[in-house]
Amino acid sequence: MKPILIRGGHLIDPATGIDAPHDILLEDGKVAAIDKPGKIKRKDAEILDASGLVVAPGLVDIHVHLREPGQGYKETIASGTAAAAAGGFTSVCCMPNTIPVNDSPEITRWMLAPERNAVIRVFPISAATVGSMGEKLTNYPALKKSGAVGVSDDGKPILGDEIMFECLKAATRYRLPVIQHTEDTRLTAGCSMNAGPVAFRLGLRGMTVESESSLAERDIALVRKVKGAHLHVAHLSSKKALDAVNAARNEGLHVTCEVAPHHFVLNEERIGDYDTNAKMNPPLRAESDRAAMIEGILQGRVDCIATDHAPHACHEKEQEFERAPNGITGLETALGLTISVLHKQHGMPLPSLLAMLTHRPAQVLSLTGRGTLAVGSHADVVLFDPNEKWTFRAKDSRSKSKNTPFDGYPMLGRVHTTISEGRIVFQR
C-alpha cells in the first residue's frame, strides 16, 4: 500500500486541538506525520490535493443497523459500509437486531469476517440478553473477545429491573458499556409517533416523552448501585431524558448519550400526511424537544451524534403508517445536515461539531486509535468541503434502501474523499 500525502488542506483534529492548514502523511494504515504546509516530503507517496477542503478524522457512527445476517434485502455489511464511506464515516458500530440476533461470538465473528466485504471498520455491538429477549445475559467476556464493543438490546429495551441490574454488573466487570434504547415499551403499545397535537389530529396513538425519560431514570438509578458502570443512552430525543442524563453526569455517574441528526433537524410536523419515511423510533418530537436537542448539543450536554441508520425496503415502507417499520437511513446525510444546521444556522464551530462525530463517539465506546489524527492512530481520514451546497438524492444513495425523509433536501458540506486505514474507500 502506497503512502498517501494529503496536502494543502485545513486540518481539524478535535482530539489534539489542531485547527490549521497542515499536511498529513498516511503510511502502513497509520497516521505517520502531521506538519505545516509543504514540510512533509515523500517522493513515493500518492499525493492528494486538499486545497479548499477540511481534512478531519474519519467520522465515527456508534449506532447503525447493517441488517446482516438475515436481512440482506434491506442492507448488507458491504452496502451499508459503502454508504458510510460516502458519508465520510470510517468506523461504524452495528446493532445486534439482526436475524438471528447477534448474541453469540460466532455471529459477531461472522460479521467481522473479510467475506462480508466491509469497506470501512465495523464494530459489532452484541445483544445484552439472549435473543434480546430480556431474560438471560449473553456471554460478555466471550463476546468482548470476539470483537464486541458494547452490549445492547436496541429496539427491545431491557425492562426488568433485575435483569438490567445484572446486565450492568456483568458489563462493568468486563468493561463493556451498556447501550440502552430507553423506551418503556409498556407505555408505548400501539404507538407510532410522538404524543401531541399532531398525533391527535392524525388519529395515531402517541409515545410520550415520559416513556423515554422514565426508563432512562430507572437505568440511572441502577447505575448508582453499580460502581464503575457505564450506561449509554441511545438516540436520545427529549429534553426530559437529556436533563436526566445530565443530572446523572453531575452526580459523577458514567452516563453518556447520543442524538441523531433527524432529532435536531426535523420535528413531528414532518410526518405530514402519514409519510412513513418520517417514522422512526424514538419518533420525531415536538419543536420544543428539537430545540432542546440543539441547545443540548451547543452546551456540550450531548456526548455525540449517531445516525441510527435503519434501512428498510421500499415495499416495507409503502404500507399503512402504523404497519410500516420504524427507521430511516442516515449515513450519507449526517455530515451535510450537521454542518447546515449546527454550524451554519447555530454557529457551532466546525471543530466542536466534528468532535461530536469523531473522537467523542470513539471515546464513548473506547474505539482506540479512532476518531483522531494523532500520529500513530489509524489512518482514517475524511476530506470534505464545508462550504459546498448540494442536494441529497435518495436514488443516488449507496445504501440498498432509500427510506429517508431527506430526499431532495439541501445540504451544506460535502464529502470528497474517505480513507479507511490508509486505503481510499470513497472518492467523488
Binding site: 403499545a189 391527535f200 389530529r201 400526511d273 415495499h315 404500507q319 403508517f321 444546521v341 431527506f406
Partner: protein
Amino acid sequence: MVPIKKSPARSTRASAQPQLHPGSLVSVRELTPQRTRAILQLADKLEAEETLKRARRLLKRRVALLFYESSTRTRTSFELAAKSMSADTTLVSALSSSIEKGESLKDTGITLRALGAECIILRSPYSGAPYLLAQSTGLPVLNAGDGMHEHPSQALLDLRTMLRFLGIKSAKLNEKSLKGVTVTICGDIFHSRVARSNALLLPKLGARVVLCGPTPLLPDLATTLGPGVSIERNFDSSLKQSQIVMMLRIQAERLAGLSLDLDEYRSNYQANGERIAAHAPKALVMHPGPIIRGMEITSEVADGPQSAIAEQVSHGLAIRRALLLQALSPQPISGKRA
C-alpha cells in the same frame, strides 16, 4: 445559557408527495366552505332529480368498495348511492379476498384498478390508509373511515342534517352560516374519526364545537384540533349551551388498556330523557351509529322526538351520491380547492 437562534425546523416536505386525485376525499381539511357548499348543492340536486335521469348519471361506471372493517351503514349507503346512479359496484372485504393472504393495500389497489375500478371507497382500521391507496393508484379515493383519523362523508351528512334542522339552505352555506350555533360532541372523542371530522369541519362554517367526555376518552390536547373547538367536562353545562348534541359510542375494540367505570360514565355522560329534558329540551340529538342503547344514549332519547338518527342515515345516501358523482366527473364540481 447559550442563546438559541430561532430556526424553525424545516418540516416542509422536500420531495412533494404525489398529489391526490382531485375527486378524492380523504380528510375534511381538503374542504373549503365553497367545496362543501358545492357538495351539498349537488346532493340536493341529485335527490330532487327524476329517478330515471339520475339512474343514467354513472351508467356502467365502476366503483370498488374496499372494506377492511365491518360496516353496515356506511357500506350500504355508498353501495346504494352508487347503484341509484347505475354504477357497477364490487365489494372487497377483508374476509373474502387475498387481503387475508397478506396482500398489501398498494397491491390490492393496483389490482382493483387493473380490473377497471375508477374510484375506490376505502374503510380501513389504519389511520391515513386512504392517502396510501390514493397515491399508489392515482384513482379518486373516498375515505369511508380510516382508523381513528377521519370519516369525512359522515361529517358531511351530519352537516346536511344540521342545516335542515336549522333551516339553512345549502346554497347559502359559507364560513359564517353556523355563527352562533354550538354543537356538543359527547363520548369517546379520542377513538372517534367522526368526532375528528366534525370538529374540523363545523368551525370552518362558523360553528362552535364543544367536546365533552372524561379525560381518558378526551385528552386536553383535543382543543388543538383547531379554532372553535373547546372542552367542557360537565355534560349538563355543555348541553345548556348547545342547539345540537351528537352522541358517540365507546369504542370498546379500541380501548386498549384504558379502564373506565361504565356506571360512572353513564351517570355523567349518558343522554337520557331526564337530562335532555332538563338541559337541552329543544336540541337536535344525533348519533352516527352504531348505537349502544342504554350506554351512551337511552332508547327514550334515541327514539324520541328530538332524535335525528334515522334522518342522518337518509342524508348519508344523498351526500354519498354527490361524492361519487364528483369523484367520477371529468372535472371536480367546484374548481376551487384550499
